[in-house]
Structure formats: structure tokens, C-alpha cells
């Protein structure tokens, strides 16, 4: 089903059935059954935590190969801000753009440029004051899916503006049509993705019917080929004319706090890393952050620079981005007309995903809850994960849903074995006594 396409997938060969990913999944979407991990599609948010923590590299992100760009007559690369900080001693944005062209692209359209438009639109919307506060950023697709599943209450706080990736894709296609004279469908819009969540968001976009991105190529695949392309170019590099598309505002979107800072709101916060994001959402739900105007949330530590498909350490990348933007103007892209262009706005609402509730019928759910709690009280509460479920409560839930049995608990099993052993022993003693008597 299209609704449940996921970039994050499991390589069953490499999976050893340890419970590292099971324990870390923020939506309890993974179980180990029959010695292998299984991802529940309905619950997965493609945050990539399991890819990050798997010691056996058994989790992968499905992306498009770079070679797939050949399928298009005219190719446009969409590099996100995080890509620009991947290279050591590389403080020339022009060379990175030239390197991308050398890889076979006809144009480069920076996502950071679109991010500046999104920032401009966000400021306009905040000023109009019609949004429900605190306004939640809509840029991180893993966070949006997390809200759909775990915090449906907060969907109405989400900023109804497309992500910089989508805005960039739309504008890049229009520009490419003008420059090439080709038809829109002959142009390939290629996003260089730092994370699996973006890949999934292209297949199942938020707030719009269809994504304008044609291909999502992994930052990890682009990294080495772009590096050698740049090394070749650097030999005769004179420093081409400045074709800067973005200022520091756009580049700062690569790290946590960049988007929030660009809102110029009086009171805002930025949280990064999925656990911190969850804590902030919990507090928002309890009305604790009512005095904030804007809340930026990134599933990855340090922001998009921390995406699992990036090569460099995210904190090093943040430092490099700061060097890169030091001499740039504040912003190169602003909405000049009095109204927000339609291309930036969502055309439909995002709906909650009821995948955590026990049943669609609350009364049936209450019946199941009673059963669940009865089972849970029998379990030892050690949350050891040996059964393959993330906690004792999750195992009880799995049993109630019919996906597991009590025998999966090794402690209950040990109790049973102990009981059998002691009854065998007493039988033995009895028969010995009888024999001797």
C-alpha cells in the first residue's frame, strides 16, 4: 500500500536478532521474532534510529542510485545545506556546485535557497497571527509522522508550509523548463538526501498530493564521487564568478536552531534527537510550552547534519557551515509580494494515524486493556527484551493483539521448567522411598 512505503528496510542476512534496534525504536515498531527483526510498517516513521544503532549494519535506507539520473534528458541536483559541510578544507561553495555539475547534472538548485523562502513565508504567517501556537516546524518528515502516530493532538499546531525540499523541487523544475525549453516531465529533479525519512516523504508527501522530487540519491553515495570530481576541478580552479544562491539563513537550516532563529520570533526553541523531540511534544501536549511562538524539531541529533546517510560527524559539519556562511549575506531569497505564493502552501490537512490504539472501538480497547494489564502483572517487569518485544508491557500488548504468546518470556518459561524439575525430583524421591520401604 502506498500509505506504508518505507525507506528503512532490514537485511535479514545480516540481522542476528539482537534487540538493540527494538529497544531504541521511538514508536515500538520493531520486534524480533524467529531470530530476526521485523519492522511494523504501520508504525515506522523512518527516523533511521535503527540504522544508527544496529551493530551488524542490518538496517538500510532504500534510495535511488546516482546512475538513475541518466533516465532524464535534463538533470537538476538539489543539494541540502548539510551536504556543503561534508568536506574538509572546503570553504568554496562554487567548487561544490561545479563538482555536482561534473557528475552529470545540468543545473544545481540549492535547497537552502528555498529554505529562505520558507523562512520568509513563516515570518509572514506568524505576523498574521492566525496560526495555533506554539507553531511546530513542518520540515522534518520523521517528526511529522511521529506526530501523526503519537501526538495527533498537535497536528493543528503544525506549520502548513511545504518543506524546503519540496519548494526547491517545484521552483527548480520551473527554472529548468525555462532554461532548457524541455517539457516538465523530461526534467529529473534529484534530491541528495541526508536521511531515509526524506525518501519516504517523497513517496508519501505531507500536505500535497504529489512530490516534485523524481529521485532521492543518498548523501553517502554522492560523497566520494563528488570528492574526486572536486579534486580534479581544484587543479585548474581559478574561482569562478560568484553564483551564490543563498545566504546564511538558508545554510543555517542544516543545523538545529537555524530554522527557528530565522523566524525572528520573540520566543522559540529548537530540539534535536528523537528522544528530546518526544519530550518536547509530551510537554506541548500538557500545555507546558504555551508561551512559545515557534518550536523547531529535528529527529536527528544536531539537525539534518546528523542524518544517518551523511558521512561526517554532525558537530564538525556545523562548525564548517558556520565558516561557510561567515561572509554570506543574511538572506538572498525573500517573498517580495504581500502574499505567500501558492507553491509554498499545503493544499490538504495531515491526518492522524491510529496505529497505537488497541482497537478502533473504545469498549473493545478497554476489554483488551484489562487483559493486557493482567498479563503484564504476571511478567517480571525487567524489560529485558529477550522475548523480542521492547518491554514487558509491549509483550503483554503483543499477546493481547494475538502476535505473541506468554512462552516468549524466558522468565515465565524458566518458572515452568523449575516447576517441572521439582515435581520430577519429588516423584523420584517418592519412588526411591517406596523402593527402600
Amino acid at each position: 500500500m502506498a500509505e506504508y512505503f518505507h525507506s528503512v528496510t532490514l537485511d535479514t542476512e545480516s540481522c542476528r536478532g539482537c534487540i538493540t534496534c527494538v529497544k531504541r525504536c521511538p514508536t515500538e515498531a520493531i520486534r524480533v521474532r524467529n531470530g530476526k527483526a521485523q519492522i511494523t510498517k504501520e508504525r515506522c516513521i523512518d527516523c533511521g534510529e535503527c540504522i544508527r544503532v544496529c551493530p551488524h549494519h542490518a538496517k538500510h535506507a532504500v534510495t535511488d542510485p546516482l546512475a538513475a539520473i541518466k533516465g532524464f534528458k535534463y538533470k537538476v541536483a538539489l543539494p541540502p545545506p548539510s551536504l556543503f559541510g561534508q568536506y574538509k578544507n572546503q570553504e568554496d561553495l562554487e567548487l561544490i556546485r561545479a563538482g555536482l555539475l561534473a557528475l552529470g547534472f545540468d543545473e544545481v538548485f540549492e535547497v537552502a535557497a528555498a529554505a529562505e523562502l520558507v523562512s520568509s513565508a513563516t515570518r509572514m504567517m506568524l505576523e498574521r497571527g492566525k496560526l495555533k501556537k506554539p507553531v511546530i516546524s513542518s520540515a522534518c518528515p520523521a517528526v511529522l509522522r511521529l506526530i501523526k502516530i503519537r501526538f495527533p493532538n498537535l497536528l493543528e499546531n503544525v506549520l502548513p508550509i511545504s518543506s524546503p525540499m519540496e519548494v526547491a523541487a517545484k521552483l527548480a523544475r520551473e527554472q529548468a523548463v525555462r532554461n532548457s525549453g524541455l517539457k516538465p516531465e523530461e526534467i529529473g529533479i534529484v534530491f541528495i538526501t541526508p536521511c531515509p525519512a526524506k525518501v519516504t516523504a517523497i513517496k508519501n508527501p505531507f500536505g500535497i498530493d504529489k512530490s516534485d522530487v523524481d529521485l532521492a540519491v543518498s548523501s553517502a553515495e554522492v560523497y566520494p564521487v563528488l570528492l574526486s570530481a572536486m579534486n580534479k576541478l581544484a587543479k585548474n580552479w581559478k574561482g569562478d564568478a560568484d553564483t551564490a544562491q543563498t545566504g546564511r539563513t538558508g545554510l543555517s537550516w542544516g543545523n538545529s536552531g537555524g530554522e527557528a532563529g530565522a523566524t525572528l520570533a520573540t520566543s522559540y526553541l529548537a530540539a534535536d534527537g528523537i528522544e528530546n523531540v518526544i519530550n518536547v511534544l509530551e510537554e506541548m501536549e500538557d500545555n507546558k510550552l504555551a508561551d512559545q511562538d515557534f518550536v523547531e524539531l529535528n529527529a536527528c541529533p544536531a539537525g539534518c547534519v546528523g542524518g544517518v546517510l551523511n558521512v561526517e560527524n554532525p558537530y564538525v559539519v556545523v562548525t564548517r557551515l558556520k565558516h561557510l556562511w561567515a561572509y554570506l549575506p543574511v538572506s538572498c531569497n525573500n517573498i517580495k509580494s504581500g502574499s505567500i505564493p501558492k507553491e509554498l502552501l499545503w493544499t490538504k490537512d495531515i491526518k492522524p494515524l491510529k496505529t497505537l490504539s488497541l482497537s478502533g472501538d473504545p469498549f473493545e480497547a478497554m476489554r483488551m486493556m484489562r487483559k493486557l494489564e493482567k498479563i503484564e502483572s504476571k511478567l517480571y517487569g525487567l524489560d529485558c527484551g529477550s522475548c523480542g518485544s521492547p518491554s514487558c508491557r509491549a509483550l503483554a500488548e503483543d499477546i493481547v493483539r494475538g502476535y505473541a504468546t506468554e512462552d516468549l518470556c524466558i522468565y515465565l518459561l524458566k518458572d515452568k521448567v523449575d516447576a517441572v524439575r521439582s515435581s520430577m525430583l519429588s516423584l523420584k524421591l517418592e519412588s526411591r522411598e517406596k523402593g527402600e520401604g
Partner: protein, 144 residues
Amino acid sequence: MSENTLHYHFVVSGDDFTQAGTASSAVKKTLKQLGFDPRIVRKMAISLYEGEINMVIHGGGGEIDVFIDAEQIAAVLTDHGPGIPDIDLAMQEGWSTASEQVRGLGFGAGMGLPNMKKYADELLIDSEVGKGTTVRLTVFLSGK
């Protein structure tokens, strides 16, 4: 209480701000798992959280009992703290008797009881000075 009622019991510590909100957070998780309408979950989550914080700030801790059945979610919060001398006054927005220390932590803005009244469908307060306070919060599943 019928046999079909779900019952949860929590003990709230009186001096540990880091633990404040534990009970309301657990209840919220259960309500979500029961698949209740997000608006109902929100009503209960906010009012119970405020009530729990009040127990920590003013009541010296206490106990919370939550009952869920086919009609309603009810929470009974009992403390043995100083009691509320004038409930009408306490219900006013911004009225607070919280200490400077508590305010320094970002609590005690005088919005606790008003928020409970705003978000719960029914709020009953029974208080005796020197003995303690019992608060009963109800959210109706039918939306009232």
C-alpha cells in the same frame, strides 16, 4: 465502580519536581492506547497534569486514583496538605500562594486551578484547612 472499570493508582511525591507529571503522563499513554478521541485525551492530560503539579507545590504530595469506564474518565486527587481557605479566590487566574522558590522553577503562576476548570468537564473541590484537599476531575467520553 463496575467490574469493567479500569482503575489506576499513583503515589505522588511531595518534594520531587523532577518526578512531577509522571502520573499524568502514564494516564495519557493509556488513554491514547485506548484509542480515545485526541481532544478527550488532551482535556484529561492537561487538567490532570495541573492537578498533579498542585499536589507537589502545595499539597506535599498525595495520591491519585484514575477510573476509566464506558462513560467517563474520572481522576481523584487527594492530599493531606494545608487545604484551601478560599476556593473562589484560588480559582481566579493569576492568584497564587506559591513560594518564590517554586516560582523560580517556572511553576506557581496561578493558572493551575483555572486551567483544570477550563479543560475538565467537571471539577469538584473539597478542602479543609489543616486537613487537606480532594479534587475530582471528570472528562465525559460523549464530549458532555
